[in-house]
Every structure is written in C-alpha cells, then in structure tokens.
C-alpha cells in the first residue's frame, strides 16, 4: 500500500489500514477485521440471518400476518395446517401463524428488556466492586457468589410468585437472577483499568469516584458486558418461554410462544400442531442466537473452540 494509484477503493482500505491514524479508525479496523472473520463462518451467518428475519417479522407483523392474532373463529377451531391457515388454528380458532408472527414482538421485547435491565445492574455492581476494592468489593462479590450458587430458574419462579405473573415481572425476575456473570465480567475489566494512568490523571484533576466510574470505567467495560449478554440471549429466550409455559410470564390471550405451547398442551396427542408450531419458532430463534454467539466467541477468543 505504497502508491496511491494501486490502492483499492477508499473505505475498505481505510478499514484495513495497519497503522490507523485515529482511535476511531483503530476501533473500526478491529471491528472490521472481526466482521471479516465472522463472515467466513457460514453457521454464524445463518444465525445472523435468522435474527434479521426475526427483527423484520417483529417490525412487520401486523402487515404480514394473514389474520388478527386475537381473532377467534370457533367454527374453525383446531383445523390442521394447510389452506387458509398454513400452520393450523388453535382451540379458539385463532390462526397459529399469525400468532407466531406477532409473538416475535413479545419475544424480542422480553430479550431487549432483560438486556436493558440486566446489563446496567451487572455493570453497576461489577464496576463499583472493582473500582473501590476492599470491603465494598468483598461484600458485593459475596452477594454475587450467593446469587450464582443458586438454581436460577427456581429463584426466578419464586420471584415471579412473589411479584405476581406477567411479562414485566418475568423480565424483572430474570434480570434479578441473571446479573451475576455480568457483574463478574465488569469487575474483572475494571480491575485491569483501575490502575491505568488516565484514571490516576482524572483523580488528580479532582474528579469524583462516581464521576470517574461513569465517565471512564463504564465506557470501557460496557462492550464486554454487551458481548456476553448477546451470547446469553438464547438462554434468556428459553427462560422467558419456560415462565410463559408455566403461566407466569405473558398472560392469555397474548400470543407469547411459551404460553401458546401451554395452551396447546391439552391437544398434543390429537392436534399436535397447536403446541408444536410455537416450539419450532422458539427453537429456530434461539438457535439463531446460539449460532451467532458461537461465531462471535470464535472471533473474540480464537484459542477456545
């Protein structure tokens, strides 16, 4: 890359620059290299495609769904797949395909809400513990350890039981029981940057501890936490579906996939499609997140495969 003449087109070359001239470029170069590595992994690309389809479906559900997900048509209850209802109808004659398409919105909402709740919680606890060290660290980490030492689903169940069923409470319960790993990651990252010079410089300039944490520590730790949350998405979907199945998550008539399976359970032996179809949707979506997550893991940590 010496003569300007034989440089390939601008942006791509800039993104492959081995001697980046700015911090932004350095970060983008790294991202681009990661993306290229990811792109070579066909399974990860399938995963990405699934997630993109999920996003599209969630956005367009009202327009692409052939029926109203809540519209009951008792004359046509439990019709098998085919004809006007490609995936059949449930016990109230509602179109299963339409319900699944609308259910994508709920799934996505839950995933996003959990991520939004769990990441800051873990981040706050981890950064505080890592930054202050000493007894703050000890106390916070002991709490983390206690939460990590317990069966999470059961704990989530107990929380939902206490708070009452519903999506918001399910999200809250999942967040309350799932933050510990993120706190540990944030703490580990914080420990490595706590002693760096720019933190010392900020401290000398009289910045408050909380100011430093918010302004310097959090921005540097947040990416690892986000990556880890992404890797855990499938697990979150499955917990949420499990709560829905037990009747503790989304409440009827909401077309949440786990609740739909619970609704079709009675008919599993004769009208198999009612419970089977939403389950396939869950499998496909969490498989998508897992495939992408596996690919990401390979890119981020080439040794562990």
């Amino acid at each position: 890359m010496t003569a300007a003449a034989n440089r390939p087109a601008g942006l791509r070359a800039w993104l492959r620059e081995e001697a980046p001239s700015s911090r932004l470029q350095a970060n983008l170069v790294q991202l681009y290299a990661g993306w290229r590595a990811l792109r070579r992994n066909p399974l990860a690309m399938i995963g990405l495609a699934i997630i993109l389809v999920l996003l599209a479906v969630a956005a367009l559900a009202p327009w692409i769904a052939p029926f109203d997900p809540l519209h009951q048509d008792l004359a046509n209850r439990l019709t098998p797949p085919g004809g006007a209802h490609p995936l059949g109808t449930d016990d109230l004659g509602r179109d299963i395909l339409s319900r699944i398409l609308h259910g994508a919105r709920i799934t996505l909402t839950i995933v996003v809400l959990v991520a939004v709740a769990v990441a800051p919680l873990g981040l706050a606890i981890g950064c505080l513990a890592g930054y202050f060290g000493g007894w703050v660290d000890s106390v916070l980490m002991r709490i983390t350890d206690v939460f990590m030492a317990f069966p999470r689903l059961i704990l989530a169940l107990a929380f939902v039981a206490a708070l009452g069923p519903g999506i918001e409470n399910a999200v809250l319960a999942i967040a309350i029981t799932n933050w510990p790993p993120y706190a540990r990651i944030a703490r580990a990252e914080t420990l490595t940057i706590r002693r760096s010079d720019f933190i010392a410089a900020a401290r000398l300039q009289g910045a408050s501890s909380l100011g430093i944490i918010w302004g310097h520590v959090v921005p540097l730790t947040i990416s690892s936490v986000i990556v880890r949350v992404t890797l855990d998405m499938a697990g979150i979907i499955l917990i949420a579906a499990g709560l829905g199945f037990l009747g503790l998550g989304a409440q009827p008539p909401s077309p949440e996939w786990g609740a739909m399976i619970a609704g079709g359970r009675k008919y599993i032996l004769d009208q198999w499609w009612v419970a089977t179809m939403p389950g396939i949707a869950i499998c496909v979506v969490s498989l998508g997140f897992n495939l992408l997550g596996d690919g990401l893991r390979d890119v981020l940590d080439p040794k562990q495969r």
Binding site: R142, M148, L157, A158, L163, P180, L246, T276, G279, D294
Partner: protein
C-alpha cells in the same frame, strides 16, 4: 433457563464457591451460601403482596384473631428479629404448612423429593454414559462426523425448550409409536403395590421383587429421563470435547508419543485421566441443574416430584410451599457441588 442453556463454561457455582473458599474455607463458604439463600427466600416472603396473616387465618377471621396471629408470626417486630425467628424456624426443620395440601411443607418435600432425585439421576446417568465417550471421541477425531454431531447436539441442547421436547417426545414415542408409557410414574393398576421404602420406585420395586412394577416404572421413567438427559448429554459431551482438545494439545501428550505409547493409551490413560477432575465438576453442575430443570419436565410429564410441587403451589400462591421447595432445591444444589468439591480433592494430586 430451560436447563443446559444457562450452564456456564466450567461452572459458575464451582467458581462461586471457589471465591468463598479462598476467603473462608470450605465449611465457611457453604454456611455463607446457605445463609444467603435464606436471606433471599426471606426477602421474597416479605415482598409478596399477599398478606401473610390472611394466608393463615383466612378472609373471615375476626380482627382479634387477625391481630393475635400477626403477633404470633412476629410481624410487628423489626426485620432482623423476624429474620432471626425465620432462621430459627427453618433450622428446626419447620418450613411452615402448605395451604394447598394442609400438611407441613417439610413432609410434602420429603414425599416428593425422591421422584425428582430418581428422574435427575437417571437423566445424568444417560448424559454421562453417552456424553463422555462421545465428547472424547469427537475431540480425538476432530472434524469427523462425530465431531459435527457433538456440535449439533450441543447447539440443539442450548436451543430447544425442554418442555417442548417433552411434549414432542410424548407425541412421538407414547402416542404414535407406543414404545413408552405416558405421563406419571406408574400405570393405574400398579400403584400402591410396593411400599415406599426409599421413595425411588425402581429401587423399591427391585427390593420387593415386584418386577412387573419395576418394568412399568421403568417404562414411565425412560422418556422423561431421556428428555432431561438429552440436555445433560449436550452439555457434558460439549465440555468433554473441549477439555479433551485442551489436554491433547499439551506437551505431556507429545512426551507420551515420544515414548511410543499407543494412541488409545494416550487418550484414556493420559489425557482422560487429566480431565476427570474438571469433568466431575461439570457432571455435578449438570446434575444440580437437572434437579432444577425437572421443574418444567415434571410439569409436562405429570411427574409427582418437587418441581411439580413447586409449580402447582406457585399457581396457587402457596408461598410456604414455594419457598420451602426452593430452599430444598438450593440445598441439594449446594450439596451436590460440595460433593464434587470433595471428589476433586481426592482425584487431583495437586489439590491434596
């Protein structure tokens, strides 16, 4: 989690207990963890929007009775006193009464727990017996069809909801093929033939020599155990593979090859002996998680275990039962991991 899915790399619990251990020693760490669990259940009990007094006395109680019960329950005292009372009560084996069954929760738990234990044990056995050799061979023949199979099985295990797999399993193997028995632990005609001694029907039937009952119980157990065991298999084979890959790239393996040791011996005597230690942790962790994963499975298969007990209590807002069940599962969780910790000390010469 729908088991399998939220199982962390090498064991969050193992590392969590590890954190404690460094600070307080093994016994201290276990005590602290249990205390933590009690705090959590206590907090949950206090967060419940339902009135604990009403739960005891019912809606139509007189104000005097209401007040008396409130004082009896210690609800007028400061929180830390209430916690102390709670602690004392739990330590004396009193988990309160279940509203639903109107029996002491501790008795219910003792009655339902063996079924869960039976299910989780059978599932773990399946996972270990199939998963370990599968993972080892996948690592040895990296890139072979077996290796890909382990990857696919692992991915599916992390992506399929256990309750859905259970339903599909019932549909296929019970309704369509008729290979196994349906929901429940025993068919109607076989109930109450053997006296519960251990509570584990397979054992009880074998002890009593009732082989028809044994066969029936087995036919009921095999499907839920396979469904649950699949997740254990997915996790164990995946972890075994990754541990083995790690060991096979170590220098000592090359040393063994320099000596002219056969590949079979290198795999099983050298590399495998080195993974037994982390593998025990993984198996324990998987077992502990199956105790929990059985909540969903038991619901699907109408399996009268602790998981089904917790969920049915949950839906009836029977908080004593829910928290008692949670406490016992948590206890089992910690116990299993304590066991793996002790095994670790026996197996690893470096830890002695």
């Amino acid at each position: 989690m729908s088991i399998g899915q939220s199982l962390p790399g090498t064991g969050a619990l193992a590392s969590a207990l590890g954190g404690f251990r460094r600070a307080y020693g093994l016994v201290g760490s276990v005590i602290l963890t249990l205390l933590g669990l009690l705090v959590i259940t206590f907090v949950i009990a206090r967060v419940v929007p339902i009135d604990p007094v009403l739960a005891v006395v019912g809606d139509r109680a007189t104000p005097e009775l209401y007040e008396r019960t409130r004082l009896e329950l210690g609800l007028d005292r400061p929180l830390y006193v209430q916690f102390y009372l709670y602690l004392r009560q739990v330590l004396s084996g009193d988990l309160g009464n279940s509203v639903l069954t109107s029996r002491p929760v501790i008795e219910d738990v003792a009655r339902f727990f063996p079924a869960t234990l039976e299910l989780a044990t059978a599932a773990t056995l399946l996972g270990v017996v199939v998963g370990v050799p599968m993972g080892v061979l996948a690592a040895v023949r990296r890139g072979s069809w077996l290796d890909h199979l382990v990857r696919v099985v692992g991915l599916a295990g992390y992506s399929i909801p256990v309750f859905w797999l259970g339903l599909v399993g019932l549909l296929l193997f019970y309704a369509e093929l008729g290979w196994v028995e349906g929901p429940g632990r025993l068919s109607v005609g076989y109930e109450d033939i053997v006296d519960p001694v251990t509570g584990v029907i397979l054992l009880d039937a074998a002890l009593a020599g009732e082989w028809d009952v044994f066969r029936d119980a087995f036919a009921h157990l095999i499907l839920p155990a396979s469904v649950l065991g699949y997740f254990s298999l997915a996790y164990i084979s995946r972890m075994t593979r990754s541990f083995m890959l790690d060991q096979l790239s170590q220098e000592y393996v090359t040393t063994a090859r320099v000596k002219g040791v056969s590949e079979a011996r290198i795999i099983w005597r050298h590399a495998f002996r080195n993974i037994t230690v982390p593998l025990v942790t993984v198996i324990a962790l998987s077992y502990a998680h199956l105790l929990e994963g059985s909540v969903l499975t038991e619901t699907v298969f109408a399996w009268p275990g602790l998981g089904a007990y917790i969920t049915s209590s949950l839906l009836n807002v029977d908080m004593n039962a829910v928290l008692g069940g949670t406490l016992v599962v948590g206890l089992a969780f910690v116990g299993v991991n304590l066991l793996s910790d002790l095994l670790y000390r026996v197996l690893d010469p470096r830890a002695r």
